[in-house]
Every structure is written in C-alpha cells, then in structure tokens.
Amino acid sequence: MEVLTSLGHGFAVAFQPLNLFWCFAGVFLGTVVGVMPGLGPAATIAMLLPLTFNMPPTSAVIMLAGIYYGAKYGGSTTAILLNVPGESASVVTCLDGYQMARNGRAGAALGIAAISSFIAGTVGVIGLMLLAPPLAKFALSFSSPEYFALMAMGLAMVVLLAGDSMIKALLAMLVGLWIASMGIDLFSDASRFTFGQTEMLDGVDFVIVAIGVFALGEVLGNMEKRGEGTMLPVPKGLRNLLPTMAELKACRFAFLNGSIIGFVIGVLPGAGSTIASFISYGVEKAVSKHPEKFGTGVPEGVAAPEGANNSETGGALVPLLTLGIPGSGTTAILLAAFILWGLRPGPLMIQDNPELFWGLVASMYVGNIMLLVLNLPLIPLFAQILKLREYILYPIIFGISVVGVFAVSASLFDCWMLAAFALLGYAMRRLDYPTAPLILGLVLGDSMERALRQSLMMSQGDLGILVSRPISATMLFLAVALLCLPLFRRANTWRLKALEENG
C-alpha cells in the first residue's frame, strides 16, 4: 500500500507539464542517439550535463534517465535494417533481426523490438520500484568468483551460436578473447599486444570490431555479386510492416525471459547489458522447440535480447540509486550528475529524496509509453531505407560506419582499424567462420580474465574458491552442461540412427 501512495506522489511529480516536457525531450534525444551507431547515451549525457545545472534536479534526472533508456530503444534500428550494431548490446539483435529484414519482415522485426523493449522496460521499472533494497543486497553478495562463473556461462553460449563447425566457432571465440586482451593489463601495468602503438594501450573499442566484422564484412560479402534490384523486399501496406499475431505469440516467452534476465543481470554492477542480451538469447534458443531456426530470422531471437537490453536499465538503476554504485559508463556519468546537483545516491536516497526517486520511477512508466508511441510510427519511415538501390545503400553503410567509429574517439587510427576488421569480417564470411562467437569472446574476455585473476588473488591461488560458493558453483555447472549439449545431441542422433537400423 505504501508503495502505491508513494507512486501516486511520484506520478503527481511526473505529470507536471514541465516534467512531462523534459521526459519527452529525454526519450526523444535518447532515440536519436540510439539510432546513430557510435553516438551513445554516456557521451550525450556528459555533453548535456552543463545545461542541466539550471534545471530543477528532478526534471534534470527525469530527462537524463530518459536519454539512458531511450537510447536502448533506438539501438536496434540500424542492427535490424543494416546489420550495423548501434551499441554493444544490439549485436545479438543483428543475428535474427537482420535476417528477418532480409526475409522481408523488417517492419515486423522493428515492431517486435519496440514492443519487447516496452514490456521489458516496464518490467524493469516495476522491479526497481518493488525490489530495489533487497536486490541491492543480492548484488553485493556477488563477487569475483560469481562474476567469473557468469562470464563462463556466457562464453559457453558459444555452442548455441556455432554454425556447422564447432571448431570454427571456438576458434572465432578465441580470436575474440585475443582482441579483448589487447591493451594495458590492469593488474600488472604490462601492455599486451599493443604493437608499440599508443593508440592500442586502451585496447580495441568494441564498436570498431562489431561494425567492421558485422556490417562491413556483410556488405563486402554482398558485393561479390553485382545485384541490380532493390536491396531487400519491403512489402507495401501498414499491415505488412507490423508483426502478426502469430509472431507476437511466438515471442510470449521471450518477452518474459528477456525482462527477467535483463533485470537480474542489470542489478549486478560488474556485468552489463551485452551479456544480458547474449544470455537471454541463449536461454531462448536452448528452450525453443526449433533451435535450428535461430539465426535465420525468428521473432523470438529479436524479442529476447531487445527485452533483456531494456529491462537492464531498470536493474542498473538499483545499485546506482540505493548504493551509489554505478555499473556502466552511462550510470557512472549519471552518478557524476547527481553529485554535481548536490544529490547523493546511496542507502538514504529514497528516504531523503522521495520526490526525486518516485518522480523518476513514475516518469519511467510515462517515458516507456512515450517511446512506444514515438517508435511505432517511425517504423514505416525507417523501413524506407531498404528501398534504396544497392549501389546507393552500400556506400551509405560504409559512411555510417565511419561516422559511428569516428564519433566514439575522434581518432583516425580507429578508422584504419575499422578497415582491418572489415577485411577480417569478409574473410570469416568467405571461410564460413561464424562471427557472433568472436563478438562474444571480445565482450566477455576482459571481464572473465579479470574475475578469474581477482578470484585467485582472493583465495591465494586456490581454484576451490570457484566451486565452494553456491551461486558460482551452480553457474559453472550450467556452463559445463551447456558445453556438453552438442555431445548429448550427437549421442541422441546416433541412438536414433541405431534404433532405425535395428528396427
């Protein structure tokens, strides 16, 4: 009951015309920067920060948070239409989203992404509202061994992302691990695989690899043939641009799965939305009745990662607001903003600033509805880009990729790296190496190595620390089970074959 009263006060704050306006401004800006690859919410919030010093803190928080979760909505657009992941978490959306677009279901894919984002975004806010304090305690019980187990579980997803050859998938993942370890080693200050280049000391930015390998590799692969017609079929009529009932029904479980996994992983300060989207995709595929269809354009393959990506926002705000602990670049800059306004997120935040906390929660419900209303009509508009002729569209993809990479770092060196990764992406396609495991290794490699080394430092070199803690032991068991999945399947096919031969 108390929650409802507080929420009522929150809505009173959120529905003030000025706050409604700032909420809309935030989610609108968020959508724009989300659509643009490279431009991210962290940079946008940092640049707008000085402008918010004159605003009432509640309005400012509502707007900046709007940018944060609004950007998650926009991230899927280029992933689905052009195979250009707008941010790290949308890499997983590329897998089935882009294939749906190739099958003429671009509008449906965008629609499912928006609906899934809405459902999961709302679930994330509900979680933030009801579960924040107890979940914050849970987040603190997570330490390096648990993170290592979580990353190991994520890495074990490679078996679900592999195509025909498991060896090739594993090799691609190992290359990802190699790229992940480039740069300065946090623990020893040694620089690894930097080839003596200052630019390499911070490692290779994820966006460069993802855009080069996914988007440009794909374009180069398509360039082999001299196609004439339009790029992808775009069916006419609004009806064909929206998901069908059957498609939505197929996504029922994915909506739920994405919402819950995204929120729980979001609460952990050391995880992040990319691993959330990979894991919820993996879970969706593992429990699916037709796992072999994943990667060919199934709607669940879009709904699960997009949902996870969006409910992660609500989760990430839990440690930020109740503990003052940021888990990502964007929440770190939000924390800096809070401090500049003289607000101190922490255990006392909800007590000391109820208006701000509940106003923010209420505004997130409102903002998610605004985003749905804003994004659905944009779908037909965005889908038009696929009507461009191939010879116009391909150079545009090159252009967007360069702009996206340059926007992150303003470094020409990164543009050269982009060219190198484009070649790698093309070679992988040509030689039938799956690209998703490379990204998986790249995203998880760094955190996994770190968590392992932290764990062993804590236990003075005793590997037992990884299995003596219940949460970590459970996750490691799941990881091993996942890795054994293909063996089990193979045994099963042998058994069936044997049965047939006998019968």
């Binding site: 724009v32 643009m36 431009l39 050859s165 060896i167 090739k168 594993l170 090799l171 190992l174 290359v175 691990l177 190699w178 370890s181 080693d185 623990f187 020893s188 040694a190 690894r192 695989f193 440009l216 180069l220 692969g221 360039m223 082999e224 043939k225 001299r226 004439e228 191939e390 010879y391 116009i392 391909y394 150079p395 545009i396 090159f398 252009g399 360069v402 702009v403 340059f406 926007a407 303003a410 020409l412 543009c415 050269w416 982009l418 060219a419 484009a422 070649l423 093309y426 070679a427 040509r430 030689l431 039938d432 190496y433 190595e449 392992l452 080394r453 062993l456 430092m457 003075q460 070199g461």
Partner: protein
C-alpha cells in the same frame, strides 16, 4: 579444376590461426605467468593461445583428410569484394588529407560507376547526394565531428 588439398580454405585459415596461436604463446611467455599476488598477465593468453594452436591444427588435419567438397571458389566475386575493400582502406588512409566528405563522395562514385557500372551521371549525382546528405544530417543537425581535410570539409 580440382583444388590442391593445401589450398582449401579451412587448411589455409587453420594455418594462419595456428601461427597466431604460436605468436600469442611466444608473446605470453614474455609476461609473468604467475606472480606473488596471483596469476600474472601471461596466464590467460597462454591458455587461449594453446587452445587456439591445438584447435587450428585439428581443423587443418580434419579438413585435409576430407574428400574435396567440389565447391569451386568464385574468384571473380572475391576479386570484386577485395577491390571494394582496397578502395575503402585507401580512403581511410586518405581521410587526413582529403577529409571525410570528399573520401565518402569518391567512394560512392567508385562503387556506383565501377562496381555497378551505372552511368557517370548517376554516379556523380549519388556521390554528391550522399556527401551533402551526410553533411546535413551528421555535420549540421547532429553536430558530430567528422574527419576534416585541409580544405576545411
């Protein structure tokens, strides 16, 4: 034209990856494997380097033992893709000299006129249209910083 066993994609890429694995191992040997405080910087690379080397060798052997799949490589397609890549790579190298918009226009011109053999008129229109569109959207509307050449654009 039957391909030699040693020219198959899996054998060649396996060899390249095996070499990469060997390189990673040799680099990792230069870093401490284990320190007084715990695993060192060489710990993780050593493990994935070894895994890469072993898996790449398995891939090579497995592929060399298999009968020819008989799928010929369309070298003309590969040449097309690689020439586009080469133009892109050169363009990235010229960003400093020419600026993004000029490189982007030239790249569009090349793709439209050479790769897709459209009339020059179309190619020029596409190149100018793309460059102007990008300038309006990214440069003016979004105020993004683009690589600028000495000509100021």
């Amino acid at each position: 034209m039957a391909q030699s066993k040693w020219m198959r994609g899996d054998v060649v890429s396996g060899a390249v990856l095996a070499a990469l694995g060997a390189y990673i191992i040799s680099e990792a040997r230069g870093w401490e494997y284990s320190t007084q405080e715990g695993p060192g910087p060489g710990f993780f690379p050593m493990w994935y380097g070894v895994a890469m080397l072993v898996l790449a060798l398995v891939l090579m052997v497995k592929s060399a033992m298999q009968p020819d799949s008989g799928k010929p490589v369309a070298w003309s397609g590969v040449a097309r893709a690689l020439s586009v890549w080469a133009v892109f790579a050169i363009g990235m190298g010229l960003l400093k000299v020419l600026g993004f918009l000029l490189v982007f226009a030239l790249m569009t011109l090349f793709v439209v006129a050479v790769m897709y053999e459209r009339p020059l008129k179309v190619a020029f229109a596409a190149a100018i249209g793309n460059a102007v569109g990008f300038y309006l959207l990214f440069g003016l509307a979004l105020r993004l910083e683009l690589p600028v050449g000495p000509l100021g654009f």
